[in-house]
């Protein structure tokens, strides 16, 4: 293995696999990307994992490994949006996600709101903030089905087990069994940011990190539904 090792949030897999392959083709170097939950990756880094680059799905876990970040290599790479979804083919109408919206009412008597775990996983934390902002949290809270991550929440809706769910826009884009009822206003939650940073001064790692911030990568990220954040 003569290339850099990247630790990246699992939700980036499709895009990063493609970008990594392009980078390898250009540089003739291998790149190994280890996908996992941001929390697990961060803990591994804290325990001395041989990672050269870390791309987290939230700011907190990047902050947690701040001490390991090489110089000023940290940057906010990508953004994402939060959407409200429903099973495709149902009669659910688009929802205008403005304060006061009666999401609990949309759940009916029995229905559940599928979300990533709201007190733990980034997608859940954002979702809860958004519902708070809408003033819907208190009504929805007892009806939430917490999945271990955003993919679990997506599955609940895709399989029709939950009438509504809150997931990233990137997840909803490629899942034909769900429809997007609405996108949460950007101001309803803290910005969804995927920070990235180098963990070593390995030249290739820095090169790969820069490549991620480049145009070629940007178009792949974009195609997968991410917002490419401008480099400050």
């Amino acid at each position: 293995q003569d290339g850099p090792t990247i630790f990246a949030a699992a939700s980036l897999k499709t895009a990063l696999d493609e970008i990594g392959a392009e980078w390898s083709a250009q540089t003739g170097r291998d790149v190994a990307i280890s996908y996992g939950g941001s929390s697990a990756l961060a803990r591994q880094i804290l325990q001395g994992a041989p990672a050269d680059v870390f791309i987290s799905a939230n700011v907190e876990w990047m902050d947690a490994v701040e001490g390991s970040i090489e110089g000023d290599s940290r940057r906010d790479l990508l953004g994402n949006r939060l959407v409200l979804i429903a099973p495709a083919g149902g009669d659910a109408a688009p929802v205008n996600l403005v304060p006061g919206v009666d999401l609990a009412g949309l759940l009916g008597d029995e229905g559940r709101m599928a979300m990533a775990q709201v007190d733990a996983v980034p997608a859940g934390l954002y979702g809860r903030a958004a519902l708070d902002w809408l003033g819907a949290w208190d009504a929805v809270a007892p009806r939430v089905a917490h999945a271990d991550n955003v993919r679990g929440a997506l599955a609940f809706v895709a399989l029709g087990e939950a009438p509504l769910g809150i997931v990233y826009a990137t997840d909803a884009v490629a899942e034909p069994r769900v429809t997007v009822l609405g996108t949460f206003p950007a101001e309803s939650h803290a910005p969804i940011v995927y920070p990235a940073g180098a963990l070593s001064d390995d030249a290739q790692a820095l090169d790969f990190l820069d490549y991620l911030s480049g145009d070629a990568a940007a178009s792949v990220f974009g195609a997968n539904g991410f917002t490419v954040l401008p480099r400050e």
């Binding site: 929390s39 559940r112 733990a120 999945a147 599955a155 029709g160």
Partner: protein, 232 residues
């Protein structure tokens, strides 16, 4: 102690116990039957059954959970009829958690019991038959008592596994505090946020304490069962 864990955590403890005990108790008869089939009978498709039983061991838990959701979800081929005809819903219920735990623990249970079946001397069963005992009576009065240590071992393995099961459970029934949030789901939640290690550790200790108690009880039971056979 009560102050040491919050009410939500106590709920998780109680729910985990309920789920694990239910899973163990309800799957035990089936486990004994399947173990008996595999140990004693020859039939076409035996190896298929054997493979099916082991499947949850081989598959990543998330996959098992997803398959459960597909099958036993309200839209699934089994879950739908269950709900429509019997009014039984498993998805998002503690009963679903018990089902997931039971299925995940099933290979362990069946193996232990099957090994014990294979160790029973068939000449004793023959002797019982010559004394006029029906197959059922032979089974209940000779075979079953002789495999008691195996049943205890299988049950305690299943219980321990059920106490620790997480991936399949959360994927199938999500994590709804008070309804489906078991100890491992709660522990997982804590581990997803920076600084959550402390609360997670508390729950781990509770979980370990419960399972160790079960283990000790099982050792006593098994020792008693085998002392009965060994004489005096």
């Amino acid at each position: 102690m009560t102050a040491w864990l919050g009410p939500a955590e106590w709920q998780a403890v109680a729910l985990s116990l309920r789920v694990s005990l239910t899973a163990t108790a309800l799957s035990l008869p089936l486990g004994i039957w399947i173990a008996w089939l595999l140990a004693r009978r020859r039939f076409p498709g035996k190896q298929v059954l054997n493979g099916l039983v082991h499947l949850p061991l081989i598959l990543p838990p998330v996959v098992t959970g997803y398959l459960l959701l597909l099958t036993f979800g309200t839209q699934g081929p089994v879950g739908g009829p269950l709900r429509d005809w019997f009014g039984v819903t498993l998805a998002f219920r503690w009963t679903g958690a018990a089902l997931a735990a039971a299925i995940m623990a099933f290979p362990l249970m069946v193996r232990a019991i099957r090994l014990s079946f294979e160790a029973v001397d068939p000449r004793l069963e023959e002797a019982a038959a010559t004394l006029g005992a029906s197959r059922l009576r032979v089974f209940a009065t000779v075979t079953l008592p002789l495999i008691a240590p195996g049943i205890v071992a299988g049950a305690v393995l299943a219980f321990a596994k059920a106490m620790g099961e997480f991936g399949a459970t959360i994927t199938f029934v999500a994590n709804i505090p008070g309804r489906t949030q078991t100890l491992p789901s709660a522990i997982y939640g804590f581990l997803q946020v920076p600084g959550g290690e402390g609360p997670a550790l508390r729950l781990v200790l509770v979980s370990v304490a419960v399972a160790m108690t079960a283990l000790l009880v099982s050792e006593v039971l098994a020792a008693r069962a085998s002392r009965r056979v060994a004489g005096s």
